[in-house]
Amino acid sequence: MNIRRDVFQAIADPTRRAILLLLTTQSMTAGAIAANFDTARPTVSKHLQILTECELLSPEQQGREIYYHFNPNKMKEIADFIEPFRQIWDAQFNKLEEVMKKRKSKK
């Protein structure tokens, strides 16, 4: 339960969300990640550390460089928590669209 709380903390920050987004398509080194942000390098390192601690990222040493990989399973944990609530609204809004479209065509 503790880990889950940390995961939420991790994604609460916009820079950390942007980092996650970057890493969904490719693995990158800390330097390459930092190059995408105006933020100071140590700040980016801190974000990477937090994301690694809650297992959203996993670092891998390749020669002299550390590559960060995105861990989709951990991200799914977050989705599992919010997803049922989202689905309820999604279903209701689909129904709204359907009701209003029918009404329009009747006119």
Binding site: F81, I82, F85, R86, D90, N94, L96, E97
Partner: protein, 154 residues
């Protein structure tokens, strides 16, 4: 596929933001929120009262097998046609408490529109209770189905 309804729940905050784009003109989207007959249809509720105006109020309920299974009420603080509804929302018999809602309606094109709902809870704890509800409902549904199956076995 991109999800049509997006939801934002940030740690350390006490609100939930729901954003949805509709294949409907703005006027149509707004109308679906203020006309009792329409709201009843898409929300699957019985509208006891809905008076969408400044200082108006509403009361909804759902009856299943002659039993009230859901009841909610609130007051409309402010209504700006095709723009915004500010209201409170409270569900009976729940730990969620009263939430404050800002519904912002926006036109995208002539035929499409967007709704942003910000729901603010008394605390992060109250918000957590809200997010737990779909789980509880899912369990209840499963339980009801079980009861029905067991009932038929008898």
């Amino acid at each position: 596929m991109e999800q049509k309804t997006k939801i934002f729940v940030e740690d350390g905050k006490q609100d939930i933001i729901v954003i949805r784009e509709f294949d409907l003109p703005l006027e149509s989207l707004f109308q679906a929120h203020v006309e009792p007959e329409l709201l009843a249809q898409w929300m699957g509720l019985k509208i006891i009262k809905l008076d969408t105006k400044n200082h108006g109020s509403f009361e909804f309920e759902t009856i299943r097998d002659g039993r009230v299974v859901f009841k909610a009420n609130g007051t409309i603080h402010q209504m700006k046609t095709n723009q915004q509804i500010v209201r409170t929302f409270e569900m009976d018999n729940s730990l969620v408490g009263v939430r404050l809602e800002f519904l912002d309606f926006e036109s995208i094109t002539k035929a499409t529109s967007k709704l942003k709902m910000q729901m603010i809870y008394q605390s992060e704890k109250h918000r957590a209770e809200q997010l737990k509800l779909p789980f509880a409902n899912g369990l209840n549904l499963a339980h009801n189905r079980l009861e029905k199956i067991v009932g038929e076995l008898k």
